[in-house]
C-alpha cells in the first residue's frame, strides 16, 4: 500500500498545480487523482484539502456524494456483473458466485489482496440483449455462463503472471 501511494505523489502535486489549486476545481482534481490511484486515499484527500483551503469534511462530502469516487483501493481489473432485471432472470447471481469463488473473495471483501481484481454488481449496464452481461474495465462480455466467466478470469490471471 505504501508504494501505491508513493510513486504517484508527484502526480498529485502536478494535478494541483494544473488546476491552480482552485477549490472550485475540486471534482476534476479528485477525478484525476483517482485515475492515478484507482481510488482516493485518505492521506491524499487530506493533503488536497490543505492545498485548496477547504475543510477535510467538505472534500470527504464530495468524494462520498458521487458514486464515481471510491475511497477504498480497487483492483487493476474491475469486474462489474450486471444484476439488472434481464441479467438477473438469466441467472447473473451464479456468475457472481462463480467469480467470488474463483477469486477467493468473501461476502464482505470486494477486492483481491493482490489488488488485481475488484468484483462489483451494478443495477443495469444497458446491455440487456447480451444478458447475462459482465464488464471488465471498459470491455463488455455478453451471454456469459459461470464456466465462460471463470475462463475469462483465468486468462487475465495468466496474462498478468507473464508480466
Amino acid at each position: 500500500m505504501e508504494n501505491a501511494i508513493a510513486v504517484k505523489f508527484d502526480r498529485v502535486c502536478q494535478i494541483l498545480e494544473q488546476h491552480q489549486r482552485d477549490p472550485h476545481k475540486l471534482i476534476p482534481i479528485l477525478q484525476e487523482i483517482q485515475e492515478e490511484y484507482q481510488y482516493l486515499p485518505e492521506e491524499i484527500m487530506t493533503f488536497v484539502s490543505t492545498a485548496l483551503g477547504l475543510s477535510t469534511s467538505q472534500v470527504y462530502g464530495v468524494a462520498t456524494f458521487y458514486s464515481h469516487f471510491t475511497l477504498s483501493p480497487k483492483g487493476k481489473y474491475v469486474v462489474k456483473v450486471c444484476d439488472g432485471t434481464a441479467c438477473h432472470v438469466k441467472k447473473s447471481t451464479s456468475l457472481i458466485d462463480a467469480i467470488a469463488e474463483e477469486l477467493g473473495l468473501s461476502s464482505s471483501g470486494k477486492t483481491t489482496e493482490d489488488l488485481l481484481f475488484t468484483l462489483e454488481t451494478v443495477a443495469c449496464l444497458g446491455a440487456c440483449g447480451l444478458a447475462p452481461a459482465i464488464v471488465i474495465n471498459e470491455q463488455v462480455y455478453g451471454h456469459m455462463t459461470p464456466e465462460s466467466t471463470v475462463q475469462l478470469i483465468k486468462e487475465i490471471k495468466a496474462k498478468e503472471a507473464q508480466i
Partner: protein, 663 residues
C-alpha cells in the same frame, strides 16, 4: 420613490430591504415554520417548511426567494398545509422518537412544529437503521438518530467559526452529517465551542452531560464539593425559569446551589480578577520589551485549540495565563486542601459555565495532577437548570443568598469577562493604575455588538491599539491581517462565540441579538453595582497575593503552555523508497504552515534535483504532515538533520555535504 409592497394572506406589507420573502412575511405577524433558516448564517433552503404560494409562480421556499413589488403570497392553503405535514411526517419516520429521554425535549423544534401543525400520526415506516451515537468528544455528543439534515451545524461551523468539522456525506437515503472520514468527534478539529448545539433544532448535537458525576460527588459524605459560577451564567440561567434575558439571578442561583448540596459557593469572577493581574503584568512586560506582540488573550479554550491547530506560529503570542476556570481550579486544589485539611482527591471542584469547550479544557492533561483534575466537573448553564428542576426547587420563589469567602469576592472587572471586550476592559483598568494614570472606568470604545472592533486607547503617553474579536471566522480574518502586516495591534482579545461567553454553547439557545445585548447589559450593570471595578482593588486577592502567591508559585499554579496540534494527524507517507538501502533520506513537512510557506514547490524542486542528478536509486523521500516547527517552516529533514526556513539552495547544499560523506 414609491414604496414596494407585497400582499401576504390579504395583508399589505412593505418591503424594506429584507433579504428574503420570509423576513417580509414575518412583518405580517406570521411566523412560518423553519428548520434550516437562521438569519446569521447563509440561506440553505433545505427543509422546505417555509414554502408559500406566490401568485403566478406556484409554491416557492420563502427563505430563498426575494420579495418583489406586487407579489401576492398565500401562506396557508390546503396544499401548503398538506405539504408541511408530509415533510414533518417524513422527518419523523427517520427520527428516533424517544422524546421523553431526549436532551432537547421541551426545546425541540421538530417536537414544537409537529405539535403546532397537528401531526398526530406518522404514515411512513422507518426503513433504515440509525447510525450509532458518538460520545467520543469531551464536550459534545452527536446522535445521528435525531438529525433532520437541516445543515445548520454544517454552516455555523464553516461560516461563523471557519472550522468546518462537519459536512454532509453520502447521498440520498444514506445522507448523513459527519466529520471527515466519519471519524469520531473527539478526534477531529472540533474546537468544542458548541455553536452547532445552539443552532441544532433537534437533539442531534448536545452538550455532554456531567450531571450524574456531580450528584455522585454531592452524595458522597467524604467529599467536599465546591462550585464556581462563571459571570455569563448569572444573566442567563433565569431564562429557564421564566426570567427575561439579562435578569441577574445570582442570589437565587447561590441559594439553589446550597440546596443542591454544594459545600462552598464561589465566583469564577474572583479568578478572573486574578487573571487580570497576571495577564496585565504579562502584557505590560511584553509591551515594554516589545516582545511577542500582539498578545492574544487565552481565556477561551475554543480559541486556544483553534490557535493550536491553525496558527501554531502565533502560539508564543498567546498569554500563558490559564483561563479563570483553570486558575480557580488549581488555586482551590492548592489552597482549600490546606484550609479544610483534606486530601486533594476529596475536594471536588465543579464549575458552572456558559460553555461546552470548558468541559474539554478541564480534561486537558496539563490541568491534572496525577489522575486528579484541577476542575473535576463542568456543567453548562442548561445542566444546572436541569439539576435545579430535578430537585424540585421553585427557583423563582427563592430568597437570595451570598457567596462564600474568600473566593466569592470579586470586582466588576472580573464580572465583565462574560462579554466580548470585557477582558480587554478589565486589563486596561488594571494597566491604567499600574502605569500611575489613575482610574480608567467605562471604556465604552471597547463595547458594542460588532464582532470585530478596533480601539485606540491612550493611557498617559502610552498609546495602545486593541483588537476585539468574537467568532472564529472573524478572528481568522483579523489574524491573517496581522500575519500579513496589514494590521498591527498590541493586544487582541479573541472569544470563539459571537458576543463572548454570554452566547456560549452551553447557554440558553437563543442567539437573538436583542437577547445577547440584554445579557451583556446585565453584566455591565453588575459591574456598576459592585464596590470595586479594578481587579487590583480586590482585598481578598491582595491578601492572597501577599500571603500565599510568591512569583514562583503563581507561575506554577496560574500559567500554562500550548502545543501545536497537527491538523493532519497521520503518519509520514513514504513517497519513494529505493530497492537497496537509502543513502539519502529526505523528509519534507507538508503540514498546513509549511505548505503555506511553499513546501510543495520545494518538494517538486528537490525531487527533480534528485532525478536529474541520478540519485533516484539511493534516495528515500517521505512527507510528514507536521514537524511541530510551524514558526520555522518550511522544514526539511535530510538524513536526520532538520533544516528550518529551508530553501532549495540550502537543501541542495546539505544534500551535497551528506553525499560527499557517503562516498
Amino acid at each position: 420613490m414609491k414604496k414596494a409592497y407585497i400582499t401576504v394572506d390579504g395583508i399589505h406589507v412593505p418591503i424594506e430591504g429584507e433579504k428574503n420573502l420570509l423576513e417580509v412575511i414575518r412583518k405580517a405577524n406570521i411566523e412560518l415554520p423553519t428548520f434550516c433558516y437562521h438569519s446569521e448564517i447563509s440561506v440553505y433552503g433545505a427543509c422546505r417548511m417555509c414554502m408559500v404560494d406566490i401568485e403566478g409562480r406556484g409554491l416557492q421556499p420563502s427563505c430563498s426567494t426575494s420579495a418583489a413589488d406586487g407579489m401576492v403570497v398565500k401562506t396557508n392553503t390546503k396544499e401548503i398545509r398538506n405539504l408541511r405535514k408530509m415533510i414533518v411526517e417524513l422527518m419523523l419516520a427517520h427520527h428516533d422518537q424517544n422524546c421523553t429521554t431526549c436532551p432537547k425535549s421541551g426545546e425541540c423544534r421538530l417536537q414544537e412544529i409537529a405539535q403546532q401543525l397537528g401531526v398526530s400520526k406518522v404514515r411512513f415506516k422507518q426503513i433504515h437503521d440509525f447510525a450509532p451515537l458518538d460520545d467520543s468528544s469531551d464536550a459534545i455528543v452527536r446522535d445521528p438518530s435525531k438529525c433532520v439534515l437541516c445543515g445548520d451545524c454544517v454552516r455555523v461551523c464553516n461560516e461563523i467559526q471557519s472550522v468546518g468539522v462537519l459536512d454532509f456525506a453520502q447521498r440520498g437515503f444514506s445522507s448523513t452529517v459527519v466529520a471527515s472520514f466519519d471519524k469520531p468527534f473527539g478526534t477531529v478539529e472540533c474546537v468544542n465551542c458548541g455553536q452547532c448545539i445552539k443552532v441544532c433544532p433537534v437533539g442531534a448535537l448536545s452538550p455532554k452531560s456531567q450531571i450524574d458525576g456531580v450528584w455522585e460527588a454531592i452524595h458522597d459524605p467524604k467529599k467536599k464539593v465546591v462550585v464556581q459560577i462563571a459571570p455569563a451564567v448569572r444573566v442567563s440561567l433565569g431564562e429557564y425559569f421564566g426570567y427575561k434575558p439579562g435578569a441577574a439571578t445570582s442570589g437565587q442561583i447561590i441559594t439553589a446551589l446550597r440546596m443542591l448540596g454544594f459545600d462552598q459557593i464561589y465566583d469564577t469572577a474572583f479568578a478572573a480578577d486574578l487573571t487580570v493581574l497576571q495577564e496585565g503584568d504579562e502584557f505590560l512586560e511584553r509591551y515594554l520589551k516589545g516582545q511577542n506582540l500582539p498578545q492574544f488573550t487565552s481565556c477561551c479554550p475554543a480559541w486556544v485549540k483553534f490557535a493550536e491547530q491553525y496558527y501554531p506560529d502565533m502560539l508564543p503570542n498567546l498569554s500563558t495565563c490559564k483561563s479563570p476556570q483553570q486558575m480557580f481550579g488549581s488555586l482551590c486544589k492548592d489552597q482549600l486542601t490546606k484550609i479544610l485539611d483534606i486530601e486533594r482527591e476529596d475536594l471536588v471542584v465543579v464549575s458552572i459555565m456558559p460553555c461546552t469547550a470548558k468541559k474539554y479544557e478541564a480534561k486537558r492533561p496539563e490541568f491534572f495532577e496525577g489522575d486528579n483534575p484541577d476542575v473535576d466537573f463542568v456543567l453548562t448553564t442548561k445542566e444546572l437548570s436541569l439539576m435545579i428542576k430535578e430537585q424540585g426547587i421553585e427557583f423563582e420563589k427563592l430568597e437570595p443568598g451570598s457567596y462564600d469567602m474568600p473566593f466569592g469576592f470579586k470586582t466588576g472587572a472580573g464580572v465583565i469577562f462574560g462579554n466580548s471586550g470585557g477582558v480587554s476592559e478589565a486589563v486596561l483598568r488594571y494597566a491604567a493604575a499600574k502605569l500611575n494614570h489613575g482610574k480608567m472606568l467605562d471604556v465604552r470604545e471597547l463595547r458594542g455588538p460588532e464582532s470585530t472592533r478596533v480601539a485606540e486607547i491612550s493611557i498617559g503617553d502610552v498609546s495602545l491599539r486593541l483588537g476585539i474579536v468574537s467568532g472564529l471566522a472573524n478572528a481568522r480574518r483579523l489574524i491573517d491581517k496581522v500575519r500579513s502586516g496589514e494590521e498591527n495591534f498590541d493586544l487582541i482579545e479573541v472569544m470563539a462565540c459571537c458576543g463572548g461567553c454570554i452566547n456560549g454553547g452551553g447557554q440558553p439557545t437563543s442567539s437573538d441579538q436583542e437577547h445577547l445585548s440584554k445579557r451583556a447589559k446585565g453584566l455591565q450593570d453588575q459591574d456598576k453595582m459592585l464596590q470595586f471595578h479594578s481587579s487590583q482593588e480586590n482585598p481578598y486577592l491582595q491578601e492572597l497575593m501577599r500571603e500565599d502567591l510568591t512569583e514562583e508559585k503563581a507561575h506554577e499554579l496560574l500559567h500554562t503552555f500550548y502545543q501545536n496540534r497537527k491538523r493532519i494527524t497521520l503518519d509520514d507517507i513514504m513517497i519513494r523508497r529505493p530497492e537497496q538501502e537509502a543513502e539519502l533520506s529526505i523528509k519534507i513537512c507538508l503540514g498546513t504552515s509549511c505548505f503555506l510557506r511553499g513546501a510543495q514547490t520545494l518538494y517538486s524542486q528537490l525531487t527533480d534535483y534528485i532525478t536529474q542528478n541520478g540519485l533516484d536509486e539511493v534516495t528515500e523521500i517521505s512527507a510528514s504532515f507536521c514537524n511541530e516547527l510551524c514558526q520555522k517552516g518550511p522544514v526539511v529533514t535530510i538524513n536526520g538533520k532538520i533544516l528550518e526556513h529551508c530553501t532549495f539552495e540550502r537543501a541542495v547544499q546539505e544534500l551535497k555535504k551528506v553525499k560527499s560523506f557517503a562516498h
